[in-house]
């Protein structure tokens, strides 16, 4: 049961900031009525324990998640996405302890697929990684406040990130499935097309991949080869599962020239390689000698399937890639579902007045 406090309504944001409970932005007051409204979209018992969140090991319950989702400004119907994203982050393979506590700037990136992404209006087109749409902004912000208030990731205390990054405020997008020439991420990862899912990765902010000139695949692939050979990113040193988020125009050009996701992954594995002449001079090559094979060129992924590919954005020939923390955090996809494990087709199906 969450503690109840009576605070000065006029100084609420100052009070939250002083207590270390906010991300620095004003918050919505988490009143009992607002938290209960959020929990109308949850079929779990409000105080059911869903696990503990490192590094502080706060006990995760639907109610404490709802308190933070209210503060972030979520509409109540967003809550099933927040809950699924938290469950994905608590999966051991994600290694949330390290993602939270590292000096690296990584933040959990939430990619939403399926009909619920469209139902909630999660932006998958123009500016999807940026501001402007409440669902993206507040679902991502709720995740950050939960990482802070449940997981204890206060900057400089248990979040030791040297510089941080803007995506630590909010990092949530939907895949632009309608304008993708390929199967969406969740289908590729074993879910049904009409399932809705969240996929989390421990990622850097998006790095732009700009190519306004190429109208054939070969030009875009050359650009990828140059951009992803990025000594200084953890994938260059430590492998892992980076994401390429192709803009729809780049994706269409690649697909028109016959490039499937499978072929693109193999290309990145085989062709995007850090030359020995560079990595042998410095960087972190000496730290993990077993990760630097006796090859002249070092790949950025251990196998082709470690690359995630999604389509995000509107018109314009920009893509981006999201390097990750390295191979000790793995991408986790979780279906948005009811407590009994059946898939949730619409958030409306979950609504029950309290």
């Amino acid at each position: 049961m969450s503690d109840v406090l009576r605070l000065d309504a006029e100084r609420l944001d100052d009070e939250f900031e002083a207590r270390g409970w906010s991300d620095g932005l004003p918050v919505v007051a988490p009143t009992r009525a607002r938290v209960d409204a959020m929990l109308c979209y949850c079929d779990r018992e409000p105080h059911a324990e869903l696990g503990t969140m490192p590094p502080r090991h706060g006990i995760v319950t639907p109610e404490i998640l709802a308190v933070n989702a209210v503060m972030a400004g979520c509409r109540p119907e967003y809550f099933p996405v927040v809950l699924a994203a938290v469950e994905a982050m608590l999966t051991p393979a994600f290694n949330l302890f390290a993602v939270q506590a590292t000096t690296h700037p990584c933040a959990p990136c939430v990619v939403v697929n399926g009909p619920i992404a469209r139902e909630l209006g999660i932006n998958a087109r123009y500016g999807a990684f940026g501001p402007g749409v409440r669902a993206n902004a507040t679902i991502g912000r709720a995740i950050r406040l939960i990482l802070l208030n449940v997981g204890g990731a206060a900057p400089g205390i248990l979040d030791r990130s040297t510089q941080g990054q803007p995506a630590k405020y909010s990092y949530c997008v939907a895949e632009n499935e309608a304008e993708s020439p390929w199967e969406p991420l969740h289908v590729e990862r074993g879910f049904a097309l009409d399932d809705s899912t969240v996929t989390v990765t421990g990622a850097d902010g998006p790095h732009n991949l700009n190519d306004h000139v190429s109208d054939r695949a070969a030009g875009i692939l050359a650009m990828l080869k140059g951009a992803l050979t990025d000594m200084g990113s953890n994938n260059a040193y430590l492998y892992g599962q980076p994401t390429i988020a192709f803009g729809p125009e780049h994706a269409a050009i690649l697909a028109a020239d016959g490039w499937s996701k499978t072929a693109l992954k193999r290309f990145v594995f085989e062709e995007v390689r850090l030359p020995r002449a560079l990595w042998s001079q410095g960087g972190m090559a000496g730290m993990f000698p077993d990760l630097f094979p006796e090859l002249d060129e070092k790949p950025i992924i251990k196998q082709p399937d470690d690359l995630l590919i999604i389509v995000v954005g509107g018109f314009g020939r920009h893509s981006c890639w999201l390097p990750t923390f390295g191979d000790t955090t793995r991408a986790v996809t979780r279906r948005i579902e009811r407590a009994d494990g059946t898939p949730l087709r619409s958030v409306r199906d979950l609504y029950r007045p309290m």
Binding site: S2, D3, V4, L5, R6, L7, D8, A9, E10, L12, W21, A29, P30, T31, R32, V35, T52, M53, R56, H57, G58, I59, V60, T61, E63, I64, V67, N68, M71, N95, F97, A98, T102, T103, L145, N149, V150, M284, G286, M287, F288, F325, G326, T328, T329
Partner: protein, 93 residues
């Protein structure tokens, strides 16, 4: 001043307070573990501490182990270190 009643966003924990392990009265003939988290300076720091202790006349047996800084120590490492009377861990970027 108008008051508003809100729910705290901070989760409860069950983290227990644990006492420090008993201090060793002497290092002589003890088995001391040195756990390197493989960050660039951690090994240097551990070796410097060991060197200083030996220079000060302490005569002990060393057992070394290493773990990836970004993941929990594997069970084999923990089993190895459980044979020690004390373990020194360095976290040094």
């Amino acid at each position: 001043m108008s008051l508003i009643e809100i729910l705290s966003p901070v989760a409860a924990t069950r983290v227990a307070t644990r006492p420090l392990a008993p201090r060793l009265e002497t290092l002589t003939a003890k088995r001391i573990g040195w756990l390197d988290n493989m960050k660039a300076n951690a090994g240097d720091l551990l070796r410097a501490v060991e060197r200083e202790l030996r220079a000060a006349g302490h005569d002990f047996v060393s057992a070394t182990a290493a773990k990836n800084a970004t993941a929990a120590a594997p069970e084999a490492v923990m089993t190895h270190l459980k044979t020690c009377d004390a373990v020194v861990l360095a976290i040094s970027d």
